[in-house]
Amino acid sequence: MFALFLIATVGAIAYELGRQSSLSIQKFGWQFWQTDIWDPVAAEFGARPLIWGTLYSSVLALLISTPIALGIAIFIAELAPQWVRKPLVFLTELLAAIPSIVYGLWGIFVLVPLVRQFELNTPEWLKSLPLFKGPPVGVGMLSAAIILSIMVIPFTSSVAREVLKAVPQAQREGAFALGATRWEAIRMALFYARTGIVGAVMLGFGRALGETMAVTMVIGNNAQITTSLYAPQYTMAAVIANEFAEAADNIHLSALVEIGLVLFVVTLIINTLSRLLIWSMARPGRPSFLRATLKRAA
C-alpha cells in the first residue's frame, strides 16, 4: 500500500516535470542533451555543460570523500576504544546536520581563499597538466568538489560504519583463529560488507548530485565543459536555483524544468547502475574467493 504510494509519487513527479517542460522538449528535442550553449537572451538552451558539471563535481567529491569516510568508519567500528566511539559518531553526524547555506558561507570566506592560495602557488610542472590549467580565482570546480566531499562524508561513513558493525563477530574470530593479522581481519570484514559499502558510497553520490546551495556559492557558475579543476563551472541544480525566480520567458522556464527532468533521469540511471553493481556482487552463483581457492587446491 505504502509502496504503491511511493511509486505513484515518483510517477507524478516525472509526469509533472515532463508536462511543464513540454515546450522546451518540443523545441529542442535531443539537441537539449547535445548543445553546449545556455543563452537565455537568444532562447537557446543545451544541458550538456550542466550535466558535465554535475557529474564531474560529484565524482570528484566521491574520490575525495570515499577513502576518508571509509577510514572513519573502519576506525570507529573496528579500531577505536569504546570511549572514543560515541563522541566520534556524534561529531561525524553533526557534519550532516549543518545546513548547506552554512557550508556555502564557510566556503566563500574560508575555503575559497585557501584554494586561491594553493592555485597561486601551483608549481609550474603541475600547471602544464590540463587538470591544473585556468585562472587562480579560488572559486571553481576544486572548491566545489572539496565542499561537496565534506558534506558527503557523514552519509557514507555512517552507513559504512553500520554495515561493518553488522559483520558477524564470528567472521573476525575465525580470521584471527586462522592466524590473520588485525589488518587482514579488517580487510576480510570489508570484503564481507562490500555490497553495503557500495550502497553507502552511492548514497553519498546521490547527495552530491542534488546539492545546490553550497555548490552554487563556490563553483563560479559558468557553463563550460573542461577538465580543469580551477575553471568555474556550473551544475544542473545550481542553474535552476539561480534562474528560476527571474525567468520571464515561457521557453526559459520550460528549459529550466527540463533541466530538473534531466537531473531526475540522471539520478535514476545512476541509482539503477548502483543497484546492478550491488546485485552482481551479491549474486549467489558468483564464484567466491573461497570457492576459487578450493578449486585451485583440487
Binding site: 550553449i37 543563452d39 537565455p40 556550473y234 534562474e243
Partner: protein, 342 residues
C-alpha cells in the same frame, strides 16, 4: 457614578468601533521584484500605521514570478525591475499600467591592490572587459581613460551575478547601448550568457567576491559597495562627463529622460542625456490593472500608490535608492487617475 457610566459607554463605544474596524480589515497581496523590497516593506508598514485596517502583503519572489502571478490574477499588484514585453502585456487578461516607484543605480566595483585612485570607466571599456577582449588591468585602453593612474600588469577577474536579476538587466542594458558587439553577442536580459568571468549569487556575494579577489571587477547596487567598503568607479555619461553614482546624479538621469518619456512609462533610462546624469540607472515599476476586478481594493491601491509617489519618496535616499524627479511623479499621478476604482 455619572462619570463612571460615561467612561463605561465610552469604553463600550470604543470596543464596538474597533470591532467594526476589525471587520473591515483588508489585506492586499502583491508579488514581484526583490530589488525594491527594502523600500516597499518600509512603505507598507508605514502606510499600515496610518491606515491600521489596510495590510499590504508583498512577496519578493522575483520580477518574473511577480508578472506571472499578476497575469494569472492571483495578486492585486505586481512589481518588476524591467518593463513588460509586448508579449507579456498581450498575455494579460486586462490592460496593465506601469508606475515607476524609485530609481536604482548600478556601479562598477573593483579591487586592485596598490591602486587608491578612483577609476574612470566608459561604456565601451566595460563592455570590452566583460566580453573578455580586455584582460589586463594595464591595458592601454584602460590607461587612456585613467591618465595619471599606474595600473598593475594583472589579470582582470570578471565577477557577475549568476542569478537572474534587475541589477544585471540595468548593467547589460547600458553595455548594449554603447557596444554594438555586446548587443550582438550577448544581448539584454535579467540573466545572460556571460562570455567570461565567475558568477556569484546575489549582490552580497558579488561584493564579497570582489572584496576578497585581487584584480577583480564586478557590478552591484551602490549600497552594497559602500556597506562593504569597496571602491567603485565613475562612469562616463552621454555628455562625456565622468559621474559618480549618488541619489542626486541618478535622479538627474531620470529627469533628463522625461522629455522622451512614453505615456506608459516603459522606458530604459540608461545612458540618458544631461551633463549631471549618472548613466547606469533604472526605474523599478509597480504594476496595476487599469480595470481591476475588485474596485474597493483598487481604490486603496490607488491611494497607497499616490502616497508612495509623493510622501513616500523621502525614504528613498536612506535606503540606497534615488527619489523620482517631480516631473515623473506628476505624469504618473495623471496615469493613476485613469484606474477604474470605486
Amino acid at each position: 457614578m455619572n462619570r463612571a457610566r460615561t467612561s463605561f459607554t465610552l469604553a463600550l463605544s470604543v470596543t464596538v468601533l474597533s470591532a467594526a474596524v476589525a471587520a473591515q480589515k483588508v489585506t492586499i497581496t502583491g508579488a514581484g521584484a526583490t530589488f525594491p523590497y527594502p523600500i516597499y516593506s518600509k512603505w507598507f508598514s508605514d502606510y499600515n500605521k496610518q491606515h491600521p485596517n489596510v495590510e499590504i502583503n508583498y512577496q519578493s519572489i522575483g520580477s518574473g514570478g511577480g508578472v506571472k502571478q499578476l497575469t494569472s490574477q492571483t495578486v492585486i499588484f505586481g512589481a518588476s525591475d524591467y518593463p513588460l514585453t509586448p508579449e507579456q502585456l498581450q498575455a494579460a487578461p486586462g490592460k496593465i499600467l506601469h508606475f515607476p516607484t524609485v530609481l536604482g543605480a548600478v556601479v562598477p566595483i573593483y579591487n586592485i591592490p596598490g591602486v587608491a585612485a578612483e577609476l574612470k570607466f566608459t561604456g565601451p571599456l566595460l563592455a570590452d572587459i566583460f566580453l573578455g577582449t580586455i584582460t589586463k588591468w594595464n591595458d592601454s585602453r584602460i590607461a587612456k581613460v585613467n591618465e595619471g593612474v599606474t595600473l598593475p600588469n594583472m589579470d582582470i577577474t570578471v565577477v557577475h551575478r549568476s542569478d537572474g536579476s534587475g541589477t544585471t538587466y540595468i548593467f547589460v542594458d547600458f553595455l548594449a547601448k554603447l557596444s554594438p558587439e555586446w548587443k550582438k553577442r550577448v544581448g539584454v536580459a535579467g540573466s545572460v550568457n556571460w562570455p567570461v568571468g565567475v558568477g556569484a549569487k546575489g549582490n552580497e556575494a558579488v561584493a564579497g567576491m570582489v572584496k576578497q579577489t585581487p584584480g577583480s571587477l564586478g557590478y552591484t547596487e551602490p549600497a552594497y559597495a559602500t556597506a562593504n567598503k569597496i571602491a567603485f568607479g565613475t562612469v562616463q555619461n552621454s555628455a562625456g562627463k565622468f559621474i559618480k553614482a549618488s541619489a542626486a546624479s541618478v535622479t538627474a538621469a531620470a529627469a533628463a529622460a522625461v522629455k522622451q518619456m512614453p505615456a506608459d512609462f516603459r522606458v530604459s533610462i540608461t545612458n540618458p542625456p544631461g551633463e549631471a546624469s549618472y548613466p547606469v540607472a533604472s526605474f523599478t515599476w509597480l504594476l496595476l490593472y487599469q480595470d481591476p476586478k475588485d474596485k474597493a481594493l483598487a481604490k486603496i491601491m490607488v491611494d497607497f500608490t499616490k502616497w508612495a509617489l509623493t510622501e513616500g519618496q523621502k525614504y528613498a535616499a536612506d535606503l540606497g535608492y534615488a527619489p523620482l524627479p517631480k516631473e515623473v511623479v506628476d505624469l504618473e499621478l495623471k496615469s493613476l487617475a485613469t484606474i477604474k476604482a470605486q
